[in-house]
């Protein structure tokens, strides 16, 4: 088994794109159904959703507010999973409920272990 990091990105900036409290509650259920399904297969390592607050530090120690990249989508959460290969990791990631929202994305990255020369 190899370790993969799933980075969930969505639009935290556009006001109209933000969910109502009721919607958010429903989204959280969907999110936990998805992660729970991965964990039920014993393929969940850890990770969580992130608060929308953040700071970005750039070279020369320039600090700006917001966890925001130059693009509209910010990282909203990350989880680490176990999968036998990229295909399986992508299959697990593709069920992520945030992908129901237009413009959102999940990035799948393989973790390089110091013990793993691959």
């Amino acid at each position: 088994m190899e370790e993969y990091l799933l980075l969930m990105r969505l639009d935290l900036l556009t006001k109209e794109a933000q969910p109502s409290p009721e919607q958010l509650q429903e989204y959280m259920k969907q999110y936990h159904d998805w992660v729970g399904g991965i964990a039920a297969q014993n393929k969940f390592n850890g990770g969580t959703g992130l608060s929308t607050e953040g700071k970005v530090i750039k070279t020369n120690n320039v600090i700006t507010d917001g966890p925001f990249a130059e693009i509209k989508e910010s990282i909203a959460g990350f989880i680490s999973i176990k999968a036998k290969d990229f295909d399986e990791a992508v299959a697990l990631a593709s069920a992520c409920p945030i992908l129901q929202g237009a413009g959102n994305s999940v990035e799948v990255r393989k973790v390089v272990s110091v013990h793993n020369k691959n």
Partner: protein, 421 residues
């Protein structure tokens, strides 16, 4: 209570108190001595009470005799001269009064000693089954035969296991004391695991004798309550564990038929559920909610709470599913994975749950085939039958095979309705 029942009951209750106080006094290397004195005390009681009748205050009588036996033992014993108080050996009367005042069998010291003993017995250097065995013997006052029955083994095995464990406590000089922070957190987790194992041994083992299994459950709850009574150990997750055990124990009367067979949840007579234990569970769950600690016990207590609501509502299963989702993120276990999938079927339907169940890949586990059988029931009864039969083939005990047989019978009864659409 007749004398025939009173004496064994009293002995079990008082044995553990006397052993804990004396062992605390002598130190953990001398647990055997404490046990011997307690046993001798009961032997003397049996002989004397048989002739003179039971005294007015039997517990007080036992304490006085135990104290005298301890003092006599100390006077004789070389270990006292060398290790406890060489300087006072010359003054016998002073010695006697000192020991008398030190061997404190007051309710407060009995509780403190038992609590400290829990931490000693649940020391991480001991194997888990030895911890449970010692807990049953020293903290619960069970006889060796009773422990052997509970573990489905024989006296010799249990005796050896306990002797090895006590040897280990001697070698490592484990103190009978409460650990200090920050060590407390980790040691408390050990204690809670052992208490929960003790409870599960009583609740889930499908074989073994019914009265003993019941007592295992209540003893586990009593030990957990000892932790709650002490400020240092009264933490949210301890309350969560007690809450969980109260909720489960509320169904003890309803889940066993007169012939000893297990009655499944859906078939239980709800009027036999113990509402007093349900409200106690709710009380401790409320206590557990202080602070930000969200342990696996909290989540399991939440699940157990919803199981005290027999009616199938969307709210019930949605909550159970979410608790299982979180529980699995904290710690994976096959049984939690399967229970989650069952909850999923209640929330999102059987077809959806079947797809998720097939990803679990727990082919060696007979419960997995029971789950698949349940999910296929009403969807495809002939597949359900194949899975239930596979489960029965893999089941370890006759009690489990019997439960699966009930499910197969139900499938037969359901068939005409399904066939007619």
């Amino acid at each position: 209570m007749e004398n025939g029942e009173l004496i064994p009951h009293l002995f079990r209750m008082e044995y553990r108190k006397i052993v804990s106080v004396l062992a605390k006094y002598f130190g953990s290397p001398h647990i055997d001595l404490a046990e011997d004195i307690a046993s001798e005390t009961f032997l003397t009681a049996t002989q004397t009470w048989g002739i003179n009748g039971i005294p007015v205050n039997p517990a007080g009588w036992l304490y006085a005799v135990a104290r005298n036996k301890a003092i006599n033992q100390l006077k004789r014993n070389a270990f006292f001269e060398q290790s406890i108080a060489p300087e006072i050996k010359s003054t016998q009367s002073l010695f006697t009064s000192m020991v008398e005042s030190d061997i404190d069998l007051s309710p407060g010291n009995i509780n403190d000693s038992q609590l400290q003993m829990i931490f000693c017995i649940c020391h991480p250097s001991l194997p888990r089954e030895a911890q449970v065995g010692l807990a049953l013997r020293i903290l619960c006052g069970f006889g060796i035969d009773e422990i052997a029955t509970a573990f489905l083994t024989n006296r010799e095995t249990i005796n050896k296991r306990l002797q090895r464990a006590k040897q280990k406590l001697r070698e490592l000089e484990i103190a009978i004391a409460l650990p200090q922070e920050p060590e407390m957190e980790e040691r408390l987790d050990q204690v809670l695991t052992t208490i929960y194992l003790l409870f599960n041994e009583g609740y889930y083992s499908v074989s073994g004798q019914q009265p003993i299994r019941r007592e295992l459950c209540f003893e586990a709850m009593r030990l957990c309550y000892l932790l709650i009574e002490n400020q240092q150990t009264n933490k949210p997750r301890v309350n969560a564990l007690l809450s969980l055990m109260c909720f489960h124990a509320s169904r003890l009367d309803a889940r066993t038929a007169e012939n000893g067979e297990l009655i499944l949840y859906d078939d239980q007579d709800q009027s036999l559920w113990n509402s007093d234990l349900v409200s106690k569970g709710a009380y401790f769950l409320n206590q557990a909610a202080s602070g930000s600690d969200l342990s696996a016990y909290h989540l399991q207590a939440g699940i157990a709470y919803w199981h005290t609501q027999k009616k199938d509502t969307a709210e019930k299963w949605e909550n159970i599913l979410q608790f299982y989702n979180l529980l699995l993120q904290l710690e994976y276990s096959p049984i939690a994975a399967m229970n989650r999938t069952y909850a999923l079927s209640k929330v999102h339907g059987k077809e959806f749950a079947i797809k998720e169940a097939e990803k679990l890949r727990l082919e060696e586990n007979h419960f997995y085939y029971i789950l698949l059988g349940e999910l296929y029931t009403g969807i495809n009864n002939s597949s359900a039958r194949v899975y239930f039969e596979k489960a029965r083939e893999l089941a370890n005990t006759s009690a489990e095979k019997q439960i699966i047989g009930v499910k197969l019978d139900k499938l037969d009864q359901a068939r005409p309705y399904n066939n007619s659409g």
